[in-house]
């Protein structure tokens, strides 16, 4: 990496609307390569929508998104995704190994089935999230933390340069949360860029290099120590953050 840090994700003037009701208004932000950025904001602020808009899953009403200075379509293989855990049916008849293998589908194309190479990659990822002994389990038999680890392993298999993660700590026990953070830091060390929707304001300073504070518009975006302060929090969350100093934030 050179000194003029490359920009992994550049968003200019992004507006997203559902039925002409803006969910994201004129978003400008840049995610430097090799960093971990958190996206925080109240419910309905458009955090998940922002991630989905980056991947073109929800259409933009206006604006532009560049991934390493190209369109998302051109760079699809370089982007990995961890959806919200609650967005899938965990009673689906499939095993941990099978879910992790799904991470290889993007590079396989339509007709090819996963082979030895893909299996090896899947096992490696499963080992990295310490799920080896659960690999054959049906996913309905997993705890919340194990489900999240499974999703993380699937993302690892994607071997992408940029990862978009939607609340990867949701419904996770403290031990798993630490383990996941550890893995995320390793990923950053390998030069990957992580953009993470996050809920728990108390851990923002510990987990992220940069933070984007979002409430339909970008309230602030930059290094955590520079922008993550009381004033910006008040502007992001309105009157709902009264007790920041004392801890719990609703």
């Amino acid at each position: 990496m050179n000194d003029t840090t490359t920009i992994a994700v550049r968003i200019t003037d992004l507006t997203v609307a559902y039925e002409e009701t803006p969910v994201l208004w004129d978003i400008d932000m840049e995610v430097p390569g090799g960093s971990i950025m958190g996206i925080v904001g109240p419910n309905g602020a458009g955090k998940s929508t922002l991630i989905k808009a980056i991947m073109g899953i929800v259409p933009a009403a206006g604006g532009e998104i560049r991934i390493f200075d190209r369109t998302f379509r051109e760079q699809r293989r370089r982007v990995g995704y961890v959806p919200q855990r609650t967005s899938v049916d965990w009673d689906f008849p499939t095993t941990v190994l099978d879910v992790v293998l799904m991470g290889t589908y993007g590079s396989l194309g339509w007709f090819r089935r996963p082979g030895k190479q893909q299996l090896d990659a899947a096992w490696q990822a499963i080992e990295r999230v310490s799920m080896t002994e659960y690999a054959g389990r049906q996913i309905s038999e997993l705890s919340g933390g194990q489900q999240q680890r499974t999703f993380l392993a699937r993302a690892l298999v994607q071997n992408a340069d940029i990862y978009l993660m939607d609340e990867p700590f949701q419904g996770v026990d403290a031990r798993t949360e630490r383990a996941i953070v550890q893995i995320l830091r390793q990923m950053r060390q390998q030069g990957r860029t992580l953009l993470i929707v996050h809920h728990d304001l108390q851990t923002v300073e510990e987990y992220f290099d940069l933070v984007a504070m979002l409430n339909v518009r970008i309230v602030a975006c930059g290094p955590v120590e520079a922008v993550f302060g009381e004033e910006n929090l008040r502007r992001t969350y309105g009157g709902r953050v009264e007790t920041f100093s004392s801890g719990r934030i609703k």
Binding site: D13, T15, P22, W25, A61, G62, G63, E64, D89
Partner: protein, 388 residues
């Protein structure tokens, strides 16, 4: 009473009775349970006929209706096992019950006076022929009286429990909070639904009844903001479908029940297309207006955003707007034209600048975080609308 009049009266009573409970089925999202019930009562009806009760006694209605309740309970029990996904329990249970009925009929045991086709379409002509006798006098078709009793039962139920039905339908949480237990409304309601379906069997059969239960109520839903209006409209649509269904079927030598259902479906399609606020046409009109209003605000937002600093000039020309917001030239042109005409934007040496009015508009919009534009009242009433 003439035969034609008898048939029409039976058809109208049946349709109206169905349309009233149908309103609550639609609002409670239980249409498919009713579909299951309508199939499940068949073996009960067949048994009643075999035993010779032939709809002469209340038992002949209540017996099969119990089977409908049995379906509701068994589907709920299967759902509780959490072994099946989605609506699978319904899809497993009701065809089996229905099959038992069809097999008995097809084997013609004990000479059941019921054919497979009357299961599908009912046999309203036959129903109109069998007269109720008091002493020596024939006082009209028996089915008509059965259906009138059921209609009164439905009306009585809805009037008596209107408040409870309403609150458990729209806000089960509130219902529990004010001490109305939802299940105390749910099971009696399903019993009423079952009885209505059994009563409607003679006129429309077991499969078409779902049409009378849902289509008028759904059309009424698109046209009303109040529960009372919805009930009245639903009944009106049902009566209209029955009368016109009969005459069209009569003219074309077709089945009254099928034609009634088809008319009810067409009434719904008309409501879907032309309802004043929620119809497709109205929505398309509103949407077109909203798209431009939204684009205009997006433009002003963009200009405010870029008005100051070194990014200003290139981003605030028409070309810049086009490039930044990704609009095509035609749209860009018409939006800029509109914004200038409305005084939200002014042009200064080829550079677009937000006017004070524009800034004010966007500040207002921003304060509320979302749509505050004057788009007319098209906030679709969701069910909570009915609470007023």
């Amino acid at each position: 009473m003439s035969l034609v009049l008898s048939i029409i009266l039976i058809a109208v009573t049946t349709a109206v009775a169905c349309s009233i409970v149908g309103v609550f089925l639609v609002l409670r999202r239980m249409s498919m349970v009713a579909e299951g019930v309508s199939h499940s009562i068949l073996p009960g009806l067949v048994m009643a006929l075999v035993l010779g009760a032939a709809l002469r006694t209340p038992v002949a209605v209540l017996g099969p209706a119990l089977l409908g309740l049995f379906l509701v309970l068994s589907v709920e029990a299967l759902n509780r096992t959490r072994l099946f996904a989605g609506d699978a329990p319904l899809g497993v249970v009701f065809p089996a019950l229905f099959s038992v009925g069809v097999i008995i009929i097809s084997r013609r045991y004990a000479s059941v006076p019921l054919s497979e086709s009357s299961v599908l379409t009912g046999d309203i002509n036959y129903a109109a022929l069998s007269q109720l006798q008091i002493g020596a006098a024939e006082i009209g078709p028996r089915s008509l009286y059965v259906m009138l009793v059921i209609l009164l039962l439905n009306l009585g139920f809805v009037v008596a429990l209107f408040k409870e039905l309403k609150v458990t339908t729209f806000d089960p949480g509130l219902a529990a909070a004010v001490g109305i237990r939802p299940e105390l409304v749910h099971y009696p309601f399903m019993a009423i639904v079952s009885i209505t379906i059994v009563g409607a069997f003679e006129a429309v059969g077991a499969v078409l009844v779902i049409a009378l239960l849902t289509a008028p109520a759904a059309a009424a839903y698109l046209l009303s903001r109040r529960l009372e209006t919805m009930l009245l409209l639903s009944a009106g649509f049902a009566a209209f479908s029955a009368v016109s269904g009969f005459w069209i079927a009569y003219a074309l030598d077709s089945a009254t029940s099928g034609m009634t259902a088809a008319i009810a479906g067409v009434v719904f399609v008309l409501a879907l297309g032309f309802a004043p606020r929620r119809g497709l046409l109205a929505k398309a009109r509103i949407r077109k207006r909203r798209v431009l209003a939204f684009a205009e605000r997006l433009l002003v937002m963009h200009l405010i955003h870029h008005a100051d600093g070194d990014r200003a000039t290139p981003a605030c020309t028409p070309e810049g707007v086009m490039r930044h917001i990704n609009w095509d030239p035609a749209l860009t042109g018409s939006v800029i034209h509109r914004a200038v005409a409305n005084g939200l934007v002014r042009e200064h040496h080829g550079v677009l600048l937000p006017s004070d009015q524009g800034r004010e508009l966007c500040r207002e919009a921003m304060l509320w975080g979302e749509d505050a534009c004057e788009c007319g009242d098209d906030s679709e009433a969701d069910v909570s609308d009915f609470n007023e």
